[in-house]
Amino acid sequence: MVNTKDKIFQAAIHVFFIAVVLMCLMPFVLLLTTSFTSEASIVKEGYSLVPSEWSLDAYKFLWSDAENITRSYGITIFVTLIGTFVGLSISALLSYPMSRSDMPMKKQLAFYVFFTMLFNGGLVPTYIIYTQVFDMKNSLLALIIPGLLTNGFFVLIMRTFFQNSIPHAIIESASIDGAGEFKIFFKMILPLSLPILATIGLMQTIGYWNDWFNGLIYITDSKLFSLQNLLNRILLNAQFIQNNASTLNAGEVANAQIPLETVRMAMAVIGVVPLLCAYPFFQKYFVKGLVIGAVKG
Protein backbone atom coordinates (compact mmCIF):
# COMPACT_ATOMS: atom_id res chain seq x y z
CA MET A 1 0.00 0.00 0.00
CA VAL A 2 2.66 2.46 1.11
CA ASN A 3 4.84 1.11 -1.64
CA THR A 4 2.40 1.86 -4.48
CA LYS A 5 1.70 5.30 -3.08
CA ASP A 6 5.41 5.91 -2.98
CA LYS A 7 5.79 4.71 -6.54
CA ILE A 8 3.11 7.07 -7.77
CA PHE A 9 4.78 9.91 -5.88
CA GLN A 10 8.15 9.09 -7.45
CA ALA A 11 6.62 8.87 -10.91
CA ALA A 12 4.93 12.24 -10.47
CA ILE A 13 8.21 13.82 -9.41
CA HIS A 14 9.93 12.43 -12.48
CA VAL A 15 7.22 13.74 -14.78
CA PHE A 16 7.59 17.16 -13.16
CA PHE A 17 11.35 17.17 -13.54
CA ILE A 18 11.23 16.03 -17.13
CA ALA A 19 9.12 19.10 -17.84
CA VAL A 20 11.60 21.29 -15.96
CA VAL A 21 14.52 19.73 -17.81
CA LEU A 22 12.83 20.40 -21.14
CA MET A 23 12.34 24.05 -20.25
CA CYS A 24 15.96 24.46 -19.23
CA LEU A 25 17.46 22.34 -21.97
CA MET A 26 15.51 23.42 -25.04
CA PRO A 27 16.95 26.93 -25.18
CA PHE A 28 20.41 25.44 -24.73
CA VAL A 29 19.81 23.01 -27.57
CA LEU A 30 18.62 25.92 -29.69
CA LEU A 31 21.82 27.72 -28.82
CA LEU A 32 23.84 24.67 -29.80
CA THR A 33 22.11 24.13 -33.14
CA THR A 34 22.34 27.83 -33.93
CA SER A 35 26.10 27.69 -33.47
CA PHE A 36 26.18 24.98 -36.18
CA THR A 37 23.86 26.83 -38.56
CA SER A 38 24.95 28.80 -41.59
CA GLU A 39 24.75 32.53 -41.12
CA ALA A 40 22.68 32.92 -44.27
CA SER A 41 19.89 30.66 -43.08
CA ILE A 42 19.67 32.55 -39.80
CA VAL A 43 19.27 35.85 -41.62
CA LYS A 44 16.62 34.25 -43.82
CA GLU A 45 14.64 32.10 -41.39
CA GLY A 46 15.63 33.07 -37.87
CA TYR A 47 16.79 30.57 -35.27
CA SER A 48 15.61 27.02 -35.73
CA LEU A 49 16.15 23.61 -34.18
CA VAL A 50 16.28 22.15 -37.68
CA PRO A 51 17.98 24.80 -39.83
CA SER A 52 17.90 24.47 -43.58
CA GLU A 53 21.67 24.70 -43.82
CA TRP A 54 24.26 23.48 -41.33
CA SER A 55 27.70 25.02 -41.13
CA LEU A 56 30.91 24.96 -39.13
CA ASP A 57 31.83 28.53 -40.03
CA ALA A 58 31.45 29.85 -36.50
CA TYR A 59 33.82 27.28 -35.07
CA LYS A 60 36.21 27.72 -37.99
CA PHE A 61 36.32 31.42 -37.22
CA LEU A 62 37.11 30.71 -33.58
CA TRP A 63 39.63 28.04 -34.60
CA SER A 64 41.56 30.67 -36.53
CA ASP A 65 42.25 32.22 -33.14
CA ALA A 66 42.93 28.86 -31.49
CA GLU A 67 46.29 29.90 -30.10
CA ASN A 68 44.84 32.76 -28.08
CA ILE A 69 41.76 30.85 -27.05
CA THR A 70 43.84 27.95 -25.73
CA ARG A 71 46.02 30.29 -23.72
CA SER A 72 42.98 32.06 -22.34
CA TYR A 73 41.50 28.72 -21.28
CA GLY A 74 44.71 28.09 -19.36
CA ILE A 75 44.47 31.46 -17.65
CA THR A 76 40.84 30.99 -16.78
CA ILE A 77 41.43 27.52 -15.35
CA PHE A 78 44.37 28.72 -13.27
CA VAL A 79 42.53 31.76 -11.97
CA THR A 80 39.40 29.75 -11.22
CA LEU A 81 41.26 27.07 -9.27
CA ILE A 82 43.35 29.45 -7.18
CA GLY A 83 40.55 31.95 -6.69
CA THR A 84 38.00 29.36 -5.65
CA PHE A 85 40.38 27.70 -3.20
CA VAL A 86 41.64 30.88 -1.57
CA GLY A 87 38.25 32.57 -1.62
CA LEU A 88 36.48 29.59 -0.12
CA SER A 89 39.08 29.40 2.65
CA ILE A 90 38.73 33.07 3.49
CA SER A 91 34.92 32.88 3.50
CA ALA A 92 34.85 29.80 5.70
CA LEU A 93 37.37 31.24 8.15
CA LEU A 94 35.40 34.44 8.43
CA SER A 95 31.96 32.92 8.65
CA TYR A 96 32.66 30.18 11.18
CA PRO A 97 33.52 32.45 14.14
CA MET A 98 30.50 34.60 13.23
CA SER A 99 28.31 31.53 13.52
CA ARG A 100 29.46 30.74 17.04
CA SER A 101 26.83 31.96 19.45
CA ASP A 102 29.52 32.62 22.06
CA MET A 103 31.73 34.72 19.76
CA PRO A 104 32.16 38.26 21.09
CA MET A 105 31.07 41.05 18.72
CA LYS A 106 29.49 38.66 16.27
CA LYS A 107 26.62 41.04 15.50
CA GLN A 108 29.01 43.87 14.75
CA LEU A 109 31.03 41.54 12.58
CA ALA A 110 27.91 40.50 10.69
CA PHE A 111 27.08 44.13 10.18
CA TYR A 112 30.63 44.84 8.98
CA VAL A 113 30.21 42.09 6.39
CA PHE A 114 26.68 42.98 5.40
CA PHE A 115 27.45 46.66 4.93
CA THR A 116 29.82 45.78 2.08
CA MET A 117 26.92 44.26 0.18
CA LEU A 118 24.99 47.49 0.17
CA PHE A 119 27.44 50.31 -0.27
CA ASN A 120 30.28 50.53 -2.69
CA GLY A 121 32.48 53.41 -3.63
CA GLY A 122 32.23 52.75 -7.33
CA LEU A 123 34.66 51.68 -9.95
CA VAL A 124 37.06 54.60 -10.04
CA PRO A 125 38.21 54.45 -6.37
CA THR A 126 38.46 50.66 -6.52
CA TYR A 127 40.53 50.87 -9.66
CA ILE A 128 42.83 53.50 -8.22
CA ILE A 129 43.42 51.44 -5.09
CA TYR A 130 44.19 48.23 -6.95
CA THR A 131 46.36 49.80 -9.63
CA GLN A 132 48.14 52.52 -7.72
CA VAL A 133 48.46 51.10 -4.21
CA PHE A 134 48.77 47.44 -5.10
CA ASP A 135 50.10 47.82 -8.62
CA MET A 136 47.97 45.02 -10.00
CA LYS A 137 47.38 46.29 -13.52
CA ASN A 138 48.25 43.64 -16.07
CA SER A 139 48.87 40.90 -13.54
CA LEU A 140 47.15 37.62 -12.81
CA LEU A 141 46.37 38.91 -9.33
CA ALA A 142 44.04 41.46 -10.90
CA LEU A 143 41.96 38.58 -12.23
CA ILE A 144 41.80 36.91 -8.83
CA ILE A 145 41.60 39.53 -6.12
CA PRO A 146 39.38 42.51 -6.99
CA GLY A 147 35.74 41.89 -6.24
CA LEU A 148 35.68 38.14 -6.65
CA LEU A 149 37.70 36.64 -3.85
CA THR A 150 34.90 36.66 -1.34
CA ASN A 151 31.79 38.66 -0.72
CA GLY A 152 29.26 39.32 1.98
CA PHE A 153 26.68 37.09 0.37
CA PHE A 154 28.87 33.97 0.55
CA VAL A 155 30.01 34.75 4.07
CA LEU A 156 26.54 35.34 5.47
CA ILE A 157 25.08 32.27 3.79
CA MET A 158 27.89 30.14 5.18
CA ARG A 159 27.43 31.64 8.62
CA THR A 160 23.78 30.67 8.58
CA PHE A 161 24.66 27.14 7.59
CA PHE A 162 27.27 26.74 10.31
CA GLN A 163 24.78 28.16 12.77
CA ASN A 164 22.03 25.76 11.86
CA SER A 165 23.55 22.51 10.81
CA ILE A 166 26.32 22.18 13.38
CA PRO A 167 25.06 21.46 16.87
CA HIS A 168 26.81 23.58 19.41
CA ALA A 169 27.05 20.58 21.68
CA ILE A 170 29.68 18.86 19.56
CA ILE A 171 31.89 21.95 19.62
CA GLU A 172 31.49 22.11 23.39
CA SER A 173 32.39 18.47 23.88
CA ALA A 174 35.39 18.66 21.58
CA SER A 175 36.68 21.70 23.39
CA ILE A 176 36.20 19.96 26.73
CA ASP A 177 38.30 17.12 25.29
CA GLY A 178 41.04 19.70 24.86
CA ALA A 179 40.84 20.30 21.09
CA GLY A 180 41.95 23.79 20.04
CA GLU A 181 39.75 26.05 17.91
CA PHE A 182 41.76 25.42 14.75
CA LYS A 183 41.64 21.69 15.26
CA ILE A 184 37.89 21.83 15.79
CA PHE A 185 37.48 23.91 12.66
CA PHE A 186 39.59 21.80 10.35
CA LYS A 187 38.88 18.35 11.73
CA MET A 188 35.21 18.66 12.59
CA ILE A 189 33.48 21.68 11.18
CA LEU A 190 34.80 21.48 7.63
CA PRO A 191 34.10 17.76 7.11
CA LEU A 192 30.60 18.32 8.45
CA SER A 193 30.02 21.23 6.10
CA LEU A 194 30.84 19.68 2.77
CA PRO A 195 27.47 20.48 1.16
CA ILE A 196 27.75 24.19 1.85
CA LEU A 197 31.44 24.27 0.96
CA ALA A 198 30.58 22.60 -2.31
CA THR A 199 27.75 25.08 -2.89
CA ILE A 200 29.82 28.16 -2.26
CA GLY A 201 32.75 26.59 -4.10
CA LEU A 202 30.54 26.06 -7.12
CA MET A 203 29.37 29.67 -6.97
CA GLN A 204 32.94 30.90 -6.72
CA THR A 205 33.90 28.72 -9.67
CA ILE A 206 31.05 30.07 -11.78
CA GLY A 207 31.96 33.59 -10.73
CA TYR A 208 35.59 33.23 -11.74
CA TRP A 209 34.86 31.27 -14.88
CA ASN A 210 32.36 33.76 -16.25
CA ASP A 211 34.17 36.89 -15.15
CA TRP A 212 35.17 39.26 -17.91
CA PHE A 213 34.92 42.47 -15.98
CA ASN A 214 38.22 42.37 -14.08
CA GLY A 215 39.94 41.54 -17.34
CA LEU A 216 38.13 44.38 -19.04
CA ILE A 217 39.35 47.01 -16.64
CA TYR A 218 42.69 45.75 -15.34
CA ILE A 219 44.19 43.97 -18.33
CA THR A 220 45.55 45.49 -21.52
CA ASP A 221 48.16 42.82 -22.22
CA SER A 222 46.53 40.31 -24.57
CA LYS A 223 48.67 37.50 -23.14
CA LEU A 224 46.70 37.72 -19.90
CA PHE A 225 43.18 37.70 -21.33
CA SER A 226 40.89 35.20 -19.67
CA LEU A 227 38.50 33.19 -21.79
CA GLN A 228 35.36 35.27 -21.31
CA ASN A 229 37.33 38.46 -21.63
CA LEU A 230 38.88 37.34 -24.90
CA LEU A 231 35.58 36.11 -26.34
CA ASN A 232 33.89 39.31 -25.30
CA ARG A 233 36.53 41.39 -27.01
CA ILE A 234 36.48 39.35 -30.21
CA LEU A 235 32.72 39.74 -30.36
CA LEU A 236 32.62 43.45 -29.69
CA ASN A 237 35.39 44.13 -32.19
CA ALA A 238 33.59 42.11 -34.84
CA GLN A 239 30.39 43.99 -34.09
CA PHE A 240 32.12 47.34 -34.31
CA ILE A 241 33.74 46.49 -37.62
CA GLN A 242 30.45 45.33 -39.05
CA ASN A 243 28.62 48.44 -37.97
CA ASN A 244 31.33 50.77 -39.15
CA ALA A 245 32.39 48.96 -42.28
CA SER A 246 31.96 52.10 -44.33
CA THR A 247 34.93 53.75 -42.59
CA LEU A 248 37.27 50.97 -43.70
CA ASN A 249 39.31 50.76 -46.85
CA ALA A 250 38.28 48.40 -49.59
CA GLY A 251 41.08 45.93 -48.88
CA GLU A 252 40.01 45.68 -45.28
CA VAL A 253 36.39 44.87 -45.85
CA ALA A 254 37.09 41.13 -45.82
CA ASN A 255 37.62 41.46 -42.08
CA ALA A 256 34.05 42.57 -41.67
CA GLN A 257 32.57 39.37 -43.02
CA ILE A 258 32.35 37.44 -39.80
CA PRO A 259 29.39 35.14 -39.11
CA LEU A 260 28.48 37.15 -36.03
CA GLU A 261 25.18 35.57 -35.06
CA THR A 262 26.53 32.05 -35.06
CA VAL A 263 29.90 33.02 -33.57
CA ARG A 264 28.07 34.54 -30.62
CA MET A 265 26.36 31.21 -29.95
CA ALA A 266 29.52 29.17 -30.54
CA MET A 267 31.26 31.32 -27.96
CA ALA A 268 28.53 30.62 -25.45
CA VAL A 269 28.93 26.92 -26.12
CA ILE A 270 32.69 26.82 -25.59
CA GLY A 271 32.25 28.93 -22.46
CA VAL A 272 29.52 26.85 -20.83
CA VAL A 273 30.47 23.27 -21.66
CA PRO A 274 33.61 23.08 -19.44
CA LEU A 275 31.58 24.34 -16.49
CA LEU A 276 28.97 21.66 -17.01
CA CYS A 277 31.75 19.10 -17.01
CA ALA A 278 33.04 20.44 -13.70
CA TYR A 279 29.64 20.27 -12.05
CA PRO A 280 29.66 16.56 -11.08
CA PHE A 281 32.80 17.20 -9.04
CA PHE A 282 30.82 19.51 -6.76
CA GLN A 283 27.78 17.26 -6.76
CA LYS A 284 29.86 14.50 -5.23
CA TYR A 285 29.93 16.45 -1.97
CA PHE A 286 26.23 17.03 -1.86
CA VAL A 287 25.49 13.76 -0.14
CA LYS A 288 28.45 13.42 2.15
CA GLY A 289 27.19 15.92 4.65
CA LEU A 290 24.88 13.40 6.22
CA VAL A 291 27.36 12.36 8.87
CA ILE A 292 26.35 14.67 11.68
CA GLY A 293 24.39 11.88 13.30
CA ALA A 294 27.42 9.61 13.15
CA VAL A 295 29.69 12.16 14.81
CA LYS A 296 27.15 12.86 17.49
CA GLY A 297 26.69 9.19 18.26
Binding site: F16, F28, I90, V113, L149, N164, R264
Partner: protein
Protein backbone atom coordinates in the same frame (compact mmCIF):
# COMPACT_ATOMS: atom_id res chain seq x y z
CA UNK B 1 7.16 16.30 16.05
CA UNK B 2 8.27 16.10 19.63
CA UNK B 3 11.88 15.96 18.46
CA UNK B 4 11.71 19.26 16.56
CA UNK B 5 10.16 21.03 19.45
CA UNK B 6 12.76 19.85 21.93
CA UNK B 7 15.76 20.94 19.83
CA UNK B 8 14.16 24.32 19.33
CA UNK B 9 13.96 24.87 23.06
CA UNK B 10 17.44 23.51 23.64
CA UNK B 11 19.09 26.64 22.23
CA UNK B 12 18.20 29.29 24.83
CA UNK B 13 19.65 27.03 27.49
CA UNK B 14 22.98 27.08 25.68
CA UNK B 15 22.88 30.81 25.44
CA UNK B 16 22.46 31.12 29.14
CA UNK B 17 25.70 29.28 29.77
CA UNK B 18 27.44 31.64 27.39
CA UNK B 19 26.11 34.68 29.13
CA UNK B 20 27.61 33.36 32.33
CA UNK B 21 30.94 32.75 30.64
CA UNK B 22 30.91 36.26 29.22
CA UNK B 23 31.23 37.61 32.71
CA UNK B 24 34.78 36.24 32.99
CA UNK B 25 37.66 38.75 33.06
CA UNK B 26 38.35 40.44 29.74
CA UNK B 27 41.88 39.13 29.32
CA UNK B 28 40.90 35.55 29.81
CA UNK B 29 38.10 36.01 27.38
CA UNK B 30 40.38 37.50 24.77
CA UNK B 31 42.72 34.58 25.11
CA UNK B 32 39.87 32.15 24.86
CA UNK B 33 38.69 33.69 21.60
CA UNK B 34 42.04 34.65 20.12
CA UNK B 35 42.05 31.72 17.64
CA UNK B 36 38.62 32.74 16.38
CA UNK B 37 39.78 36.33 15.93
CA UNK B 38 42.83 35.11 14.02
CA UNK B 39 40.55 33.18 11.69
CA UNK B 40 38.60 36.24 10.68
CA UNK B 41 41.64 38.38 9.91
CA UNK B 42 42.05 37.55 6.19
CA UNK B 43 38.36 38.10 5.50
CA UNK B 44 38.14 41.31 7.50
CA UNK B 45 41.21 42.73 5.77
CA UNK B 46 40.01 41.73 2.35
CA UNK B 47 36.62 43.37 2.83
CA UNK B 48 38.34 46.43 4.20
CA UNK B 49 40.54 46.83 1.14
CA UNK B 50 38.08 45.69 -1.45
CA UNK B 51 34.98 47.40 -0.08
CA UNK B 52 35.63 49.90 2.69
CA UNK B 53 38.62 51.76 1.27
CA UNK B 54 36.88 52.52 -2.03
CA UNK B 55 33.88 53.82 -0.07
CA UNK B 56 35.85 57.02 0.38
CA UNK B 57 34.81 57.47 -3.23
CA UNK B 58 31.23 58.04 -2.10
CA UNK B 59 32.15 61.68 -1.74
CA UNK B 60 32.26 61.79 -5.54
CA UNK B 61 28.46 61.80 -5.45
CA UNK B 62 28.55 65.25 -3.85
CA UNK B 63 31.30 66.72 -6.00
CA UNK B 64 31.69 68.32 -9.36
CA UNK B 65 34.71 66.23 -10.20
CA UNK B 66 37.47 67.90 -12.11
CA UNK B 67 40.48 65.67 -12.61
CA UNK B 68 42.78 68.59 -13.17
CA UNK B 69 42.10 69.59 -9.57
CA UNK B 70 41.95 66.01 -8.30
CA UNK B 71 38.95 64.31 -6.74
CA UNK B 72 39.52 65.62 -3.21
CA UNK B 73 39.99 69.22 -4.28
CA UNK B 74 37.00 69.31 -6.62
CA UNK B 75 34.08 71.56 -5.72
CA UNK B 76 31.33 70.36 -3.43
CA UNK B 77 27.96 70.73 -5.10
CA UNK B 78 25.58 69.25 -2.54
CA UNK B 79 22.81 67.15 -4.02
CA UNK B 80 23.03 68.44 -7.58
CA UNK B 81 24.24 65.08 -8.88
CA UNK B 82 21.09 63.46 -7.51
CA UNK B 83 18.65 65.81 -9.22
CA UNK B 84 18.31 63.91 -12.48
CA UNK B 85 17.00 60.89 -10.58
CA UNK B 86 13.95 62.78 -9.41
CA UNK B 87 13.54 65.56 -11.91
CA UNK B 88 11.65 63.49 -14.40
CA UNK B 89 8.03 62.48 -14.85
CA UNK B 90 9.29 58.93 -15.03
CA UNK B 91 10.83 58.88 -11.57
CA UNK B 92 7.68 57.34 -10.18
CA UNK B 93 7.40 54.73 -12.94
CA UNK B 94 11.02 53.69 -12.53
CA UNK B 95 10.73 53.38 -8.76
CA UNK B 96 7.50 51.44 -9.04
CA UNK B 97 8.90 49.09 -11.68
CA UNK B 98 12.07 48.43 -9.73
CA UNK B 99 10.28 47.67 -6.50
CA UNK B 100 7.45 45.61 -7.97
CA UNK B 101 9.77 43.50 -10.10
CA UNK B 102 12.10 42.83 -7.20
CA UNK B 103 9.30 41.97 -4.82
CA UNK B 104 7.83 39.49 -7.27
CA UNK B 105 11.30 38.05 -7.97
CA UNK B 106 11.96 37.56 -4.27
CA UNK B 107 8.65 35.82 -3.66
CA UNK B 108 8.48 33.68 -6.79
CA UNK B 109 12.14 32.69 -6.74
CA UNK B 110 11.78 31.65 -3.14
CA UNK B 111 8.69 29.51 -3.63
CA UNK B 112 9.87 27.87 -6.81
CA UNK B 113 13.47 27.32 -5.74
CA UNK B 114 12.50 25.83 -2.38
CA UNK B 115 9.85 23.71 -4.08
CA UNK B 116 12.30 22.32 -6.61
CA UNK B 117 14.94 21.75 -3.94
CA UNK B 118 12.49 19.77 -1.81
CA UNK B 119 11.39 17.68 -4.76
CA UNK B 120 15.00 17.09 -5.83
CA UNK B 121 15.68 15.78 -2.36
CA UNK B 122 12.78 13.36 -2.72
CA UNK B 123 14.03 11.81 -5.95
CA UNK B 124 15.17 8.33 -4.99
CA UNK B 125 17.30 7.52 -8.04
CA UNK B 126 20.59 9.31 -7.40
CA UNK B 127 21.63 9.40 -11.06
CA UNK B 128 18.36 11.03 -12.01
CA UNK B 129 18.60 13.54 -9.16
CA UNK B 130 22.08 14.54 -10.22
CA UNK B 131 21.03 14.87 -13.83
CA UNK B 132 18.10 17.12 -12.94
CA UNK B 133 20.32 19.20 -10.69
CA UNK B 134 22.86 19.93 -13.40
CA UNK B 135 20.27 20.73 -16.04
CA UNK B 136 18.44 23.21 -13.82
CA UNK B 137 21.68 25.15 -13.46
CA UNK B 138 22.26 25.58 -17.22
CA UNK B 139 20.19 28.75 -17.65
CA UNK B 140 22.22 30.46 -14.96
CA UNK B 141 25.41 29.87 -16.95
CA UNK B 142 24.19 31.56 -20.13
CA UNK B 143 24.88 35.29 -20.37
CA UNK B 144 21.97 37.73 -20.56
CA UNK B 145 23.01 38.92 -24.00
CA UNK B 146 22.56 35.39 -25.30
CA UNK B 147 19.31 35.03 -23.35
CA UNK B 148 18.12 38.18 -25.13
CA UNK B 149 18.70 36.47 -28.48
CA UNK B 150 16.99 33.27 -27.34
CA UNK B 151 13.97 35.25 -26.17
CA UNK B 152 13.92 36.96 -29.55
CA UNK B 153 13.93 33.53 -31.18
CA UNK B 154 10.80 32.75 -29.18
CA UNK B 155 9.00 36.06 -29.57
CA UNK B 156 10.14 37.49 -32.89
CA UNK B 157 7.19 38.83 -34.85
CA UNK B 158 7.81 36.92 -38.08
CA UNK B 159 9.95 33.92 -37.29
CA UNK B 160 9.33 33.50 -33.55
CA UNK B 161 8.48 30.09 -32.14
CA UNK B 162 5.50 31.36 -30.15
CA UNK B 163 3.89 33.21 -33.03
CA UNK B 164 4.60 30.47 -35.56
CA UNK B 165 4.03 27.28 -33.56
CA UNK B 166 2.15 27.90 -30.32
CA UNK B 167 -0.44 30.61 -30.98
CA UNK B 168 -1.88 28.97 -34.14
CA UNK B 169 -2.66 25.88 -32.02
CA UNK B 170 -5.11 27.99 -30.08
CA UNK B 171 -6.26 29.96 -33.07
CA UNK B 172 -4.76 33.21 -31.75
CA UNK B 173 -3.39 35.80 -34.15
CA UNK B 174 0.35 36.56 -33.99
CA UNK B 175 1.24 39.12 -31.35
CA UNK B 176 3.91 41.75 -31.87
CA UNK B 177 5.49 41.21 -28.50
CA UNK B 178 8.11 43.92 -28.77
CA UNK B 179 5.60 46.73 -29.15
CA UNK B 180 3.18 45.75 -26.40
CA UNK B 181 4.45 46.81 -22.96
CA UNK B 182 1.65 44.98 -21.16
CA UNK B 183 3.15 41.52 -21.77
CA UNK B 184 6.59 42.35 -20.45
CA UNK B 185 6.07 42.11 -16.72
CA UNK B 186 5.11 38.48 -17.28
CA UNK B 187 7.91 37.82 -19.77
CA UNK B 188 10.59 39.32 -17.55
CA UNK B 189 9.40 37.48 -14.47
CA UNK B 190 9.44 34.18 -16.37
CA UNK B 191 12.92 34.83 -17.77
CA UNK B 192 14.22 35.77 -14.35
CA UNK B 193 12.77 32.69 -12.68
CA UNK B 194 14.01 30.48 -15.48
CA UNK B 195 17.50 31.88 -15.25
CA UNK B 196 18.02 32.11 -11.50
CA UNK B 197 16.01 29.35 -9.90
CA UNK B 198 18.66 26.71 -10.54
CA UNK B 199 21.26 28.72 -8.68
CA UNK B 200 19.05 29.48 -5.66
CA UNK B 201 17.81 25.92 -5.62
CA UNK B 202 21.35 24.67 -4.94
CA UNK B 203 21.59 26.76 -1.79
CA UNK B 204 18.30 25.43 -0.45
CA UNK B 205 19.21 21.91 -1.46
CA UNK B 206 22.44 22.17 0.53
CA UNK B 207 20.39 23.29 3.51
CA UNK B 208 17.96 20.40 3.15
CA UNK B 209 20.77 17.89 2.82
CA UNK B 210 22.21 19.22 6.07
CA UNK B 211 19.09 18.25 8.00
CA UNK B 212 19.68 15.41 10.42
CA UNK B 213 17.90 12.31 9.01
CA UNK B 214 16.89 11.35 12.54
CA UNK B 215 14.07 13.89 12.35
CA UNK B 216 12.55 12.15 9.37
CA UNK B 217 13.01 8.72 10.86
CA UNK B 218 11.21 9.81 14.00
CA UNK B 219 8.46 11.42 11.94
CA UNK B 220 7.97 8.28 9.87
CA UNK B 221 7.61 6.26 13.07
CA UNK B 222 5.02 8.80 14.24
CA UNK B 223 3.18 8.07 10.99
CA UNK B 224 3.67 11.51 9.45
CA UNK B 225 3.15 11.55 5.67
CA UNK B 226 5.37 13.28 3.11
CA UNK B 227 3.41 16.52 3.19
CA UNK B 228 3.58 16.77 6.95
CA UNK B 229 7.29 15.98 6.93
CA UNK B 230 7.86 18.79 4.47
CA UNK B 231 5.77 21.39 6.23
CA UNK B 232 6.70 20.43 9.78
CA UNK B 233 10.36 19.45 9.45
CA UNK B 234 11.98 20.57 6.24
CA UNK B 235 10.58 24.07 6.01
CA UNK B 236 11.00 25.03 9.67
CA UNK B 237 14.55 23.73 9.63
CA UNK B 238 15.60 25.65 6.54
CA UNK B 239 13.69 28.75 7.69
CA UNK B 240 16.90 30.49 8.87
CA UNK B 241 18.39 30.10 5.38
CA UNK B 242 15.19 31.36 3.79
CA UNK B 243 15.14 34.35 6.12
CA UNK B 244 18.74 35.29 5.48
CA UNK B 245 18.39 34.93 1.71
CA UNK B 246 15.30 37.11 1.76
CA UNK B 247 16.94 39.77 3.93
CA UNK B 248 19.95 39.86 1.64
CA UNK B 249 17.70 40.31 -1.36
CA UNK B 250 15.75 43.08 0.34
CA UNK B 251 19.02 44.93 0.79
CA UNK B 252 19.40 44.99 -2.97
CA UNK B 253 15.79 45.76 -3.73
CA UNK B 254 16.61 49.02 -5.47
CA UNK B 255 19.18 47.44 -7.71
CA UNK B 256 18.21 45.40 -10.71
CA UNK B 257 19.77 42.99 -13.13
CA UNK B 258 20.80 45.35 -15.91
CA UNK B 259 21.03 42.59 -18.51
CA UNK B 260 17.51 41.39 -17.81
CA UNK B 261 15.95 44.81 -18.26
CA UNK B 262 18.17 46.11 -21.05
CA UNK B 263 19.35 43.18 -23.17
CA UNK B 264 16.28 40.97 -22.97
CA UNK B 265 13.78 43.60 -24.23
CA UNK B 266 16.49 44.51 -26.80
CA UNK B 267 16.45 48.13 -25.61
CA UNK B 268 13.10 48.70 -27.29
CA UNK B 269 11.77 52.20 -26.64
CA UNK B 270 8.11 51.22 -26.91
CA UNK B 271 8.47 48.89 -23.93
CA UNK B 272 10.02 51.39 -21.53
CA UNK B 273 6.85 51.97 -19.53
CA UNK B 274 7.14 48.44 -18.13
CA UNK B 275 10.84 47.70 -18.56
CA UNK B 276 12.57 50.85 -17.33
CA UNK B 277 14.16 50.40 -13.89
CA UNK B 278 16.64 52.48 -11.92
CA UNK B 279 19.72 50.86 -13.46
CA UNK B 280 18.54 51.18 -17.04
CA UNK B 281 17.38 54.75 -16.46
CA UNK B 282 20.79 55.70 -15.12
CA UNK B 283 22.55 53.91 -17.96
CA UNK B 284 20.52 55.71 -20.60
CA UNK B 285 20.81 59.03 -18.84
CA UNK B 286 24.58 58.85 -18.75
CA UNK B 287 25.35 57.27 -22.14
CA UNK B 288 26.43 60.59 -23.54
CA UNK B 289 27.35 62.41 -20.36
CA UNK B 290 29.59 59.77 -18.76
CA UNK B 291 29.53 61.80 -15.55
CA UNK B 292 31.01 59.86 -12.62
CA UNK B 293 29.45 62.17 -10.05
CA UNK B 294 25.99 61.36 -11.34
CA UNK B 295 26.62 57.65 -11.55
CA UNK B 296 27.91 57.42 -8.00
CA UNK B 297 24.93 59.48 -6.87
CA UNK B 298 22.64 56.84 -8.36
CA UNK B 299 24.56 54.06 -6.63
CA UNK B 300 24.40 55.82 -3.30
CA UNK B 301 20.68 56.43 -3.65
CA UNK B 302 20.09 52.73 -4.39
CA UNK B 303 22.23 51.68 -1.44
CA UNK B 304 20.53 53.99 1.02
CA UNK B 305 17.05 52.80 0.08
CA UNK B 306 18.14 49.17 0.40
CA UNK B 307 19.87 49.92 3.68
CA UNK B 308 16.81 51.50 5.24
CA UNK B 309 14.54 48.68 4.10
CA UNK B 310 16.90 46.00 5.31
CA UNK B 311 17.30 47.62 8.73
CA UNK B 312 13.54 47.68 9.00
CA UNK B 313 13.02 44.08 7.98
CA UNK B 314 15.91 42.93 10.14
CA UNK B 315 14.27 44.66 13.08
CA UNK B 316 11.01 42.85 12.42
CA UNK B 317 12.78 39.50 12.06
CA UNK B 318 14.77 39.95 15.24
CA UNK B 319 11.57 40.76 17.15
CA UNK B 320 10.21 37.37 16.20
CA UNK B 321 13.35 35.26 16.36
CA UNK B 322 16.64 36.79 17.34
CA UNK B 323 18.72 33.94 15.91
CA UNK B 324 17.39 34.37 12.42
CA UNK B 325 18.28 38.04 12.18
CA UNK B 326 21.08 39.23 9.95
CA UNK B 327 22.91 41.07 12.74
Amino acid sequence: MATTASTATAKPAEQQTEVRRAQNPVLKRLKRYAPLFIMIIPGVIYLFINNYLPMLGLIIAFKDVNFAKGILASDWIGFKNFEYLFKTEDAWIITRNTLLYNISFIILNLIIAVGIAILLNEVKKKVAARFYQSIVLIPYLISMVIVGYLVLAMLSGETGFINKQILPLFGIDPISWYSEPKYWPVILVIVNVWKNVGYLCIIYLAAIIGIDPEYYEAATIDGAGKWRQITQITIPLIAPVITIMTLLQIGRIFYSDFGLFYQVPLNTGELLSTTNVVDTYVYRALINLGDIGMSSAAGLYQSVVGFVLVLLSNYIVSKRNRDNALF
